[in-house]
Symmetry: C2
Subunit: 312 residues, 2 copies
DNA sequence: GCTTGACCTAAAACCCGTTTCAGAATTTAT
DNA sequence: ATAAATTCTGAAACGGGTTTTAGGTCAAGC
């Protein structure tokens, strides 16, 4: 528990000189440096991060807001964020929001309090306007298209690949398309985008009876298929929000000796590769990496990746 | 960016009185309190967490070391940790270790530096002896059985349910049992435990050709099944390290119109419920919650849950 | 009327670093 | 030889809180 003062006292130099040795800056006589370094080793001194943080005004922490962590979207995003943050010697704090605006606001207060230097919203309930008012307290990065607003963002441009996918589905002659989504389109930008692309291609809204929300994992896909079958909702194509979800649906049909409808997934997970299934790769790991870089640099820039429709 | 001094100046009281109002302790005249609270609202003041941390010696952060985050083991554990931490107003920092002792040591240094107050090792490469030498810098909780060592731990007692499961498998008459594991038994306590339980029941070591390691997700189970089939390794039971993994293996057999071997999974995920498959519930969410509670309280206690063999 | 205790507040010390400023000792340039 | 620039170091200020100490006011108890 030695502190910098003890090192100073022990060596006979001052705190400032010890600090200079620690930070390798300004002039320090080689002999002085050696003596102080020896003392640091001898007394097993490590600087106190809180004191450094207070003094320098930053803690090298990034707060990452995420609603839950059971969707591959978040898993891949987090992995990308972690990789980039780790590489830059930043740490990430996991901030569960459960899609609640009130909780998100509490986290923004923590940004003000300097609990972390910057934030990444993998998803946000709060309006972008509100987010902007907090930018003065630290970099805020969102993972959705912020439109023309001056907000740092790393996100995937989903529309082109969604349209391409629906064009392809239409060309194949499918007519009753089921949409599996994480959340309803009135609360989720992603779902909204999906639905809009659907309308753009098919010139009509998706069939409400073929929409299922609350879908995150393989098991949810399985349950959705079970629902369609038991409720007798005929369909010929399943557009899933993740490959694992599609795989789960497929599993249901196989297990019940039913004909498996055509389907596609998203995220280009291993399951779609194994099943030789069409998918959309949103390059989320890369999005995560760039979100972290923006959070660290503080640049109010937009990093946009084109998602990729993969036919197999 | 108002600080406590500004509130003091604005109201004419001293820093200490403002601090007392903030922390609701000691005597403060009602009128004084009102005035100061009004000033806090007016100047939109929030205390600086780094200054508070430095002054009080803790940041209310818990560092959570995890090798990767793609296995349900970690997902459930993290969810439990997050829930308990969040409830107690603690935050968690995700510390990826990739099973590297050197990285873990770096994190222990961060504990000394007060980057976080306490640590949870969901898995650790470093010896328990080494961990113990760092206990003086803050609570350290492991998620494995620490034996009789005085280390705080929240973990699942796996042996009884493993033995019960193997007894059951044996009673059913299965003889060629495949074991799917996250890591090899010489580096993983969990795998070692599994193998030992196997030997205890079958009086012989598991068949090396039926062991697959590096298995984490559904897709890995699928790949393992593909391996057994293409390499012509006959087996009649698959003991998987997770339900999703078993589900993946099952999927492979179904897709290739092969007879599906008997199998069981672990973690009691939805997939095993849907497939009506035997499993072992390690109650990881609960383990995570208790790990967080130990990390927060600093009690050097052991929280042990019995895992539960579920026949379906 | 005096002591005692409760109530209220401020000054100062403390937590532990970084950074600025200023001065002293050397070197280099002229 | 002297002025100027460089190298080295320490004192002090600063970041922004909490806590201790101590002193003052006031009412209750004897």
């Amino acid at each position: 528990m030695a502190n910098i003062q003890e090192i100073a006292d022990y060596t006979g130099f001052s705190k400032s000189t010890v600090s200079r040795v620690l930070n390798q800056k300004n002039y320090v006589a080689p002999r002085t440096r050696d003596l102080i370094e020896a003392a640091i080793v001898k007394l097993d001194y490590v600087p106190n991060a809180m004191a450094q943080g207070l003094s320098m005004g930053q803690m090298h922490n990034i707060g990452v807001v995420l609603p839950h962590n059971e969707h591959p979207y978040y898993t891949q995003l987090i992995n990308g964020i972690m990789a980039a943050a780790f590489a830059a010697n930043y740490r990430i704090m996991l901030l569960p929001s459960n899609y609640e605006a009130k909780v998100e606001l509490a986290y923004l207060q923590q940004l003000r309090r300097k609990v972390f230097d910057s934030m990444i919203f993998t998803s946000h309930e709060i309006s972008r306007q509100t987010l902007m008012t907090y930018q003065k307290y630290g970099p805020i990065v969102v993972c959705q298209d912020p439109g023309c607003l001056p907000i740092a963002a790393a996100y995937t441009a989903r529309v082109p690949s969604y349209v391409a996918a629906f064009e392809w589905i239409k060309a194949q002659g499918y007519q009753h398309i089921s949409l599996l989504a994480t959340r309803a389109s009135n609360v989720s930008a992603t779902s909204k985008t999906t639905f809009q692309a659907y309308e753009q291609v098919f010139h009509q809204a998706p069939e409400p009876t073929l929409i299922r929300t609350g879908i995150r994992k393989q098991q949810d896909g399985y349950a959705a298929a079970a629902y369609f079958v038991t409720q007798k909702r005929p369909l010929d194509f399943i557009f899933a929000n993740a490959d694992d979800v599609a795989a789960g649906a497929r599993q249901y049909y196989l297990e019940h000796d039913l004909p498996v409808p055509a389907m596609m997934g998203q995220e280009n997970q291993l399951s779609s590769q194994l099943l030789n299934m069409a998918t959309i790769d949103h390059h989320l790991y890369e999005v995560g990496e760039n979100a972290a870089k923006l959070a660290i640099s503080g640049a109010v820039r937009q990093f946009r990746v084109e998602s990729e429709f993969i036919v197999r």
